[in-house]
Amino acid sequence: MEKPLTQHIVPGRKPLNLQEYEKVGGYQSVRKVLKEMTPQEVQTLVKDSNLRGRGGAGFNTGLKWSFVPMGDDAATPKYLVANADEMEPGTFKDRVLLEGNPHQLIEGMIVSAYAIQASISYVFMRWAYKLAAKEITQAIHEAYDAGYLGKNILGSGFDLEMHLHTGVGRYMCGEETALLNALEGKRANPRAKPPFPQVSGLFGKPTIVNNVETLCNIPHIINKGAEWFKKLGLTEDAGTKLYGVSGRVKTPGCWELPMGTTIRELLEVHAGGMQDGYLFKGLLPGGASTDFLVEEHLDLPMDYPSIQNAGSRMGTGTMIILDDQTCPVGFVHNLQHFFAQESCGFCTPCREGLPWVEKILLALDRGEGKPEHLLTLDFHTKYLGPGNTFCALAPGAMEPLQSALKYFREDFERHIHEHHCPWSKTTAWQPST
């Protein structure tokens, strides 16, 4: 089984330095595109590979690039940003790539920057990834020294600067337009689309923001071709995917597997099944902002269309398991607290709606719930949908809530009728002050 992304990552060992990385074929794709391919050809190849954004939205990467204005009259400088903010609760896959093989990301960024003719690039990394920041900084230095970054890369005439920006908190920064505001030294409120960042992005210039895992795939697609990449997947979605499992399983972790590996395989084979004494109740397939899936979905392949058809989203592909001994209301309350805290406060429904939802869930947790509270939760799930709010934060927050209300409604109702949380083991989840 091919594992292009993680083949050179050995847990617990320092990542490859530039020489070591070159020795195993590193930076070949940079040489190849600079010498043999036009930016247009790179774009087409990536589009044909059917690589879909690994940050959660799953948009075709090559297609996303194709909206960047090209040619002499395009605004300059253009920017490429690697989104290494990874703040979705339950998600820890990019960390593996950042800490384990930083040169792979840099290589992917150089090729991607070339494809859109960007001359400045950023790695926007969340503050908590201290080790990753160290490794990336080191790797960027090495790449500059080796002539892979800077002016006139490998004599091609192509220039690229690369900077690391570490964030100062806020989940919002993972949203690409909010990320751009943060990079500009502003409040990380999202921006309206249109205009899309491809046209008016960082500092008002054409910009592409791609997820780390997405960018790490690029060198391999260049080296081995679109057809190879497509064949990696077990289903119609191409490539491999970094899947992860956390929660009460025997061996939580993160694994590179063919796209379309089933949930059951992830859960039972790779994660080792549930811990003794815990039963599976449900799972969030791709981070905190995806809908619950339950027992009946376990044989679904983890790819974009299958999970979507089941009423959820593959998101980041890192799943969080809800076990039978964790109160689903408390579980959702924890999530809603997170989303309410991380709302930027820009638009009304998100800013005011999420705290309301959080307060209701707290009341339920404390046994102070009332039947009408469920109706209030229902209208929030109905009206905090995409398009109704300014960005996807609140709709994302509603996904686990609406599906919990669907699959675990009885549990919600029990909190109300029994006037306390039936999960004696789990006390009411207290929000932080």
Binding site: E86, M87, E88, P89, G90, T91, F92, R95, R126, W127, A128, Y129, K130, L131, H163, H165, T166, G167, V168, G169, R170, Y171, A182, E184, G185, K186, R187, A188, F203, G244, V245, S246, G247, R248, P252, G253, C254, L284, A288, T318, I320, I321, L322, D323, T326, G330, F331, N334, L335, H337, F338, Q341, E342, C344, T427, W429, Q430, S432, T433
Partner: protein, 154 residues
């Protein structure tokens, strides 16, 4: 007053962006790195240096939860309170920390040693529960380990 070293570092950040304002978050980080937090005075210094008003810079500073606008202890404990850590029982860790340090979230120990803050997801959900003290990450935490961990910080 900004130190020469701080100015040097801020100048470098300014050199990378179109206007000095664009480097304001980096500048705040630099100041916070040397003082532990951003006081009103530091905020004003940074604002003057990058050509912003105090209000404009504070608007940015107060948006981000990891720019500290109030004094913090010598070490900041960031305890993950997000979903995987919740499932894995981070509350035991939290309660133990409350008890050991005699503080709640947002407070600093009387001896100025620790400030305890909740934090959303540290990105290490497969090793929950987790916390960070300064730059050090602790994973797969148990209540029993806390004494030993805290001892490292004076």
């Amino acid at each position: 007053m900004l130190t020469t070293e701080e100015k040097y570092q801020i100048d470098h950040e300014i050199s990378l962006v179109p206007t000095p304002k664009n480097a304001c978050i980096e500048a705040l980080k630099i100041v916070q790195h040397s003082h532990g937090w951003v006081s009103d005075e530091s905020l004003k210094d940074v604002a003057d240096y990058v050509g912003m008003s105090t209000a404009e810079l504070d608007s940015v500073a107060t948006f981000y939860n990891l720019i500290f606008r109030r004094p913090v202890g010598r070490h900041v404990i960031l305890l993950c309170d997000s979903i995987s850590c919740y499932v894995m029982g981070y509350e035991d860790i939290r309660n133990k920390l409350f008890e050991k340090l005699s503080i709640k979230y947002g407070q600093t120990t009387a001896d100025g040693r620790f400030t305890l803050l909740p934090n959303c997801c540290l990105g290490t959900c497969d090793c929950a529960p987790a916390l960070m003290i300064d730059n050090d990450l602790y994973r797969n935490l148990t209540v029993e380990q806390l004494d030993e961990i805290l001892m490292k910080y004076t």
